[in-house]
C-alpha cells in the first residue's frame, strides 16, 4: 500500500478506505464521472502553434534521472538581479550610488572575476564549489513589459500572448497517467498559476501547518468526511459547481498525505508560514515517494521600490537559508540525484536606483539552478541597456526547457518552440 493510501486508510478507517488502493483514487473516481459531467472537456490541443522565429538549435536532452523532481522557487515581486549577482565592471556603482554593494563585501565565485554574489548569498558559493550551482544572468522573456501582472502571466505560461495554462500545467496535462494524481504538481504557500492545466489537477496548499480537517466534538469524523466527499460526485454540468465539487477529493487526498493532525494547536491567524518551513514540507513530500514531480514554493516581498538594502538582504537571507536547509534534507534522504531546484522571478528591476533608495520594475533578472552541474550563463550587459533596463541575454524559456528535459519532456511540444538548453 502506498504511503498515501496508508495514511488515508488510517484517517478513514471505515469501508471507504478499504477501496482506496492507489494514489489519487478519489480524484480518479471523480474522473470516471467527468465524462458525463464534463468538468474538463478532453482537449487534443495544448495551445501550441509552430513558430520558427526564435528557434534555436535543438539539443538532445540528457537522459533524465529516475523519478525526477523539479522544485521551483518563485521570488514574487521582481527580484533585483543586479544586486543579487553583481557585475564587477565599474559601471555598476555609477548606476547604484546609494544601494550599490561594495565590491569588498561580495562573495566571489571560484574561477570567475566578472561577478560576485550578494553577501547574504554566501552559502551558495558552497554549491558552486561542489559543481551544483548554475547561474543565469540576464534571464527574461522578450516583450514581457514592466507590469507585474503581464510579466507574471508570461513567466507562468511561458508565452507572451494570452495563455491561460501554465507551462508546468501543460506538462502535467501531457504526461498524466491513466490514474490522475493531483499530487504530481503541488504549490505551497499560495496559488500557482504555473500549475494550471487543461485536464490535469494539481494541489495548492496555502499553509501546510494549518492543513487539516476538524469535525465538531462528539461526532463521528469518518462519516462526516465521507458525507463531504459524497457531495462531490457525480459532477454537475455547471462548471462552477463542478469545480467546487472536484476540489473536495483533491483536498482530502492531499490531507491524507500531509496528515498534519496537529490537534490542540491554535495557529496564529496572522502568522506567516516561513519560506524555510514551506521548503521543509517540500523536502518531506519528496521523501514520501508520492510520485510528486513538481513543487512550487513562493517567497514574496521582492517588489523593493524603496529602502531596498535592508529588505533585500533579509529576503535573500531567507531564500538561501531555506534553500540550503532544503538541500541538506534532500541530500540526507538520498534524493539529491533526482532533484533540480530552480528560482524564478517575474522580472528584474531597473538598473538605475530610484530616489527612494529602491528600484522600479525592470526587465532581465537572475535565476539559480541547484542540483546538477556548474555554469554561468548569459550576462548583465550594463553597456547596452534597453530603455534603462538590462538587456535579455537568455530567454527564460531556455531554463524552462532545461527543467522540462529534467522531467523527461516532451519539452518542445510544451513550450511551442525549441529553446536552447543550459545543459
Amino acid at each position: 500500500m502506498s504511503e498515501l493510501s496508508r495514511r488515508r486508510f488510517l484517517y478513514l478507517s471505515g469501508g471507504a478506505a478499504a477501496t482506496a488502493t492507489g494514489v489519487g483514487v478519489w480524484a480518479a473516481l471523480l474522473r470516471g464521472e467527468s465524462e458525463k459531467g464534463m468538468l474538463v472537456p478532453p482537449s487534443t490541443t495544448l495551445g501550441m502553434t509552430s513558430t520558427t522565429t526564435t528557434t534555436t538549435t535543438t539539443t538532445t536532452a540528457p537522459t533524465p534521472p529516475q523519478n525526477p523532481v523539479v522544485v521551483i522557487v518563485q521570488m514574487d515581486g521582481g527580484n533585483d538581479g543586479l544586486n543579487t549577482l553583481v557585475p564587477l565592471d565599474g559601471l555598476y556603482h555609477a548606476a547604484r550610488p546609494t544601494i550599490g554593494l561594495p565590491d569588498s563585501n561580495l562573495i566571489s565565485l571560484a574561477g570567475r572575476t566578472d561577478f560576485g554574489l550578494h553577501p547574504a548569498l554566501a552559502p551558495l558559493s558552497d554549491f558552486w564549489d561542489k559543481d551544483m550551482l548554475r547561474i543565469v544572468a540576464g534571464s527574461g522573456i522578450p516583450e514581457q513589459g514592466r507590469s507585474h501582472f503581464a510579466a507574471t502571466d508570461a513567466w507562468h505560461s511561458g508565452q507572451t500572448d494570452k495563455e491561460e495554462t501554465g507551462w508546468i500545467g501543460r506538462w502535467l496535462d501531457a504526461t498524466e497517467g491513466s490514474t490522475p494524481n493531483p499530487l504530481r504538481g503541488i504549490a505551497l504557500g499560495g496559488g500557482a498559476p504555473i500549475l494550471n492545466g487543461k485536464t490535469s489537477i494539481s494541489t495548492v496548499i496555502n499553509s501546510p501547518s494549518n492543513f487539516r480537517l476538524a469535525t465538531p466534538p462528539g461526532t463521528d469524523s469518518e462519516s462526516i468526511v465521507l458525507a463531504f466527499l459524497n457531495t462531490a460526485s457525480p459532477l454537475a454540468s455547471d462548471p462552477a459547481l463542478a469545480a467546487a465539487q472536484s476540489a473536495i477529493p483533491n483536498s482530502l487526498d492531499a490531507i491524507g498525505v500531509f496528515d498534519s493532525a496537529k490537534s490542540g494547536v491554535d495557529p496564529d491567524p496572522y502568522a506567516e508560514e516561513s519560506f524555510t518551513t514551506l521548503l521543509e514540507t517540500a523536502a518531506e513530500l519528496i521523501n514520501m515517494n508520492l510520485d510528486t514531480r513538481v513543487i512550487v514554493v513562493s517567497i514574496p516581498g521582492f517588489d523593493t521600490h524603496s529602502d531596498q538594502l535592508g529588505r533585500h538582504q533579509n529576503l535573500l537571507e531567507d531564500f538561501v537559508t531555506g534553500v540550503s536547509n532544503f538541500w541538506n534534507r534532500v541530500e540526507s534522504n538520498g534524493h539529491a540525484d533526482r532533484v533540480l531546484l530552480m528560482s524564478t522571478s517575474e522580472f528584474g528591476r531597473r538598473v538605475a536606483e530610484n530616489g527612494s533608495s529602491g528600484t522600479d520594475h525592470g526587465a532581465a533578472s537572475v535565476q539559480f539552478l541547484i542540483g546538477s552541474g556548474k555554469g554561468l550563463y548569459g550576462d548583465f550587459d550594463l553597456r547596452n541597456l534597453v530603455n534603462g533596463d538590462l538587456p535579455i541575454t537568455v530567454d527564460t524559456r531556455s531554463t524552462y526547457a532545461t527543467a522540462l528535459d529534467w522531467l523527461g519532456g516532451p519539452t518542445d511540444e510544451i513550450l511551442g518552440d525549441s529553446y536552447s538548453r543550459l545543459f
Binding site: 515581486g77 514592466r146 507590469s147 507585474h148 501582472f149 493531483p182 499560495g190 496559488g191 494541489t203 495548492v204 496548499i205 496555502n206 501546510p208 494549518n210 492543513f211 487539516r212 480537517l213 476538524a214 469535525t215 465538531p216 466534538p217 462528539g218 461526532t219 463521528d220 462519516s223 462526516i224 458525507a227 463531504f228 459524497n230 457531495t231 460526485s233 457525480p234 454537475a236 455547471d238 462552477a240 459547481l241 469545480a243 467546487a244 476540489a247 473536495i248 483533491n250 483536498s251 482530502l252 492531499a254 490531507i255 491554535d266 495557529p267 491567524p269 496572522y270 514574496p300 517588489d303 521600490h305 524603496s306 530610484n354 530616489g355 527612494s356 529602491g358 522600479d360 520594475h361 530603455n387
Partner: protein, 435 residues
C-alpha cells in the same frame, strides 16, 4: 427590467451578488415587497428617502493605540486590527445597506491597500472611510481622493515621490490597475504621471503638498500636454476613453462573472461614461442585465462571502479569533490583500487547503449554532428543501448533496446530532460555495 426568474430567486441573486447573503428573517422581511422597488431601494437608498447607516468604524480611534513608542505597541496594534476587522465584518453581515458594504469591500479589493504593508492602522481606517464614502458615488472623486490618501501614499511610495527623486510605483498602478489597464498607456505616461504627482507628504493628521518637492514641469500624459499637478493628472486620466470600459469590466466581472460578452461590457461603459462616471447608474445597468438574463451562470464565491452568509444562515456568533482563524485558513483576510492586484480570482479559494478550511469552519459554526436556528431545525427534521431554501438555493440542493445529507442523517445516533452534522455538510457543500 424583465426577469424570467421568480422574485425569490432574484432576491437571493442580488443579495448574494451585491451583498453577503440573506438571513431567514431578512428573507421574510423582503419577500412580499414589490421586487423592482426593492432593487431600486437596495442600489440607491438615499434616493428613496432611506437613511444610510452610520459607518462601522466611528469609534475606531478609541481603541487604535496612539503611542507608537509604547513597548507593546505592536501587540496593541495587532489586537486593535483584529477588533477593527471584526467590526467591519459585523457591519457587512448585519447592515441594512448591503450594497454599500459590498461596494466598499469591492473597492478594498480594487485599490488593495494592505494594512500590514502600511503599518498604520489609523491611516487604514481613514482609507476605509474614504472608500465607504465614495463607494457608489463618483469614481473620479474617489480616485482623486485615493491618490492623495495617506494610506495610499504610504502603500505605493507616493510620499517618497519628489522632484529630485521621482518614484513611479503609484504612477504605474494608477494607470494599470486603477483606471486604464495594460495596453492603454506607455512607459513615458507612467513617468509623466509620477512626476506630476510629486510633492505630496504624509503628516500626523493627513497630507500636505510641498511645492518645493514638486516637479511642476509640464508633462505630456496620455496625449495631453501641460499636465503638471494632481488636477491635470486626474483630468487626463478620467477623460481617457479606456477608463469607463476598464472599471465597468471589473465591476461586471465581480457581479456577473467573467463570461460577459464585450458588447455588453461596452453598453455598461457607455452608461458609465454618459453619467459622468457616477457609479449608481453603472451598478443599476449591471444589476438590470443580471436580472434580465434568462440563464444565470453561477460563480464561485470568496471566503468572506461564504463565512458571512454561513453566519447569516445559522445565526451563529463567532468570536474575533475564531473568525480571523477561519478567514486566515481559507486564505482571505480583510485588510490584507496579498499584493497590489488585490485578492486572487475566486477559483483560488477552491485550493486543497481553502477547501479543508471551509469544511473545518463549518464544523465550528454548527457546534455554536443556537438551538432555535431555523436552519438547524430544518436539518434536524431532514427537510432538505427548506434547508436549501434557507441557504439560498431556491431550486434545491444538487442531487449528490441531498443523498449525502440523507445518508448522514440516517446514520446519525440522534436527530439532534444528525441535524448539526448535516448543517455542517450543507454549509461546506459545493452548492453553498457557488452563488
Amino acid at each position: 427590467m424583465v426577469s424570467l426568474m421568480s422574485d425569490q430567486e432574484n432576491l437571493f441573486w442580488i443579495s448574494n451578488r451585491m451583498g453577503f447573503g440573506l438571513s431567514p428573517s431578512e428573507m421574510e422581511l423582503h419577500q412580499d415587497q414589490n421586487f423592482s422597488e426593492f432593487v431600486g431601494k437596495r442600489i440607491d437608498p438615499e434616493k428613496h428617502g432611506l437613511k444610510i447607516p452610520a459607518e462601522p468604524f466611528e469609534n475606531a480611534e478609541d481603541f487604535i493605540p496612539a503611542d507608537k513608542d509604547a513597548s507593546d505597541f505592536k501587540k496593541q496594534e495587532r489586537a486593535a486590527s483584529l477588533e477593527l476587522f471584526d467590526l467591519w465584518l459585523d457591519e457587512m453581515r448585519d447592515t441594512s445597506d448591503p450594497v454599500l458594504e459590498w461596494m466598499t469591500f469591492f473597492w478594498h479589493d480594487h485599490f488593495a491597500v494592505s494594512a500590514r504593508e502600511i503599518k498604520s492602522l489609523r491611516a487604514f481606517v481613514r482609507h476605509l472611510r474614504l472608500l465607504r464614502t465614495h463607494a457608489r458615488g463618483s469614481y473620479p472623486t474617489m480616485l482623486r481622493e485615493v491618490t492623495i490618501d495617506p494610506a495610499m501614499l504610504i502603500f505605493l511610495d507616493g510620499y517618497k515621490n519628489t522632484a529630485k527623486k521621482p518614484n513611479e510605483n503609484y504612477g504605474r498602478e494608477l494607470l494599470e490597475l486603477y483606471s486604464l489597464g495594460i495596453g492603454n498607456y506607455s512607459e513615458d505616461d507612467v513617468m509623466a504621471a509620477s512626476r506630476a504627482l510629486t510633492g505630496w507628504r504624509v503628516t500626523e493628521n493627513g497630507v500636505e503638498f510641498k511645492p518645493r518637492q514638486h516637479d511642476d514641469t509640464p508633462q505630456i500624459l496620455l496625449g495631453n500636454s501641460n499636465v503638471h499637478d494632481l488636477d491635470t493628472v486626474m483630468e487626463a486620466v478620467v477623460n481617457h476613453e479606456a477608463l469607463p470600459g476598464f472599471i465597468s469590466k471589473k465591476l461586471s466581472d465581480a457581479v456577473l462573472g467573467t463570461e460577459i460578452p464585450d458588447a455588453v461590457i461596452n453598453e455598461f461603459a457607455a452608461v458609465f461614461a454618459n453619467n459622468d462616471l457616477e457609479l449608481i447608474p453603472l451598478i443599476e445597468a449591471i444589476v438590470d442585465a443580471g436580472l434580465s438574463m434568462n440563464k444565470r451562470v453561477p460563480i464561485i464565491r470568496h471566503p468572506v462571502s461564504w463565512l458571512l452568509n454561513a453566519e447569516k444562515v445559522t445565526g451563529v456568533k463567532l468570536d474575533v479569533i475564531e473568525r480571523a482563524n477561519m478567514l486566515s485558513q481559507m486564505n482571505m483576510l480583510p485588510g490584507r490583500p496579498p499584493n497590489v492586484g488585490g485578492f486572487p480570482k475566486t477559483d483560488h479559494y477552491l485550493s486543497a487547503s481553502s477547501t479543508a478550511a471551509r469544511f473545518s469552519s463549518a464544523g465550528i459554526i454548527v457546534s455554536k449554532t443556537p438551538r432555535e436556528s431555523v436552519a438547524l431545525q430544518a436539518a434536524k427534521s431532514a427537510n432538505w428543501g427548506d434547508l436549501a431554501n434557507i441557504c439560498g438555493r431556491t431550486n434545491g440542493f444538487n442531487q449528490p448533496t441531498i443523498e449525502s445529507l440523507q445518508d448522514l442523517w440516517e446514520s446519525s445516533p440522534s436527530s439532534s446530532q444528525g441535524g448539526r452534522v448535516c448543517l455542517a455538510i450543507a454549509l461546506s457543500s459545493p452548492d453553498f460555495m457557488v452563488i
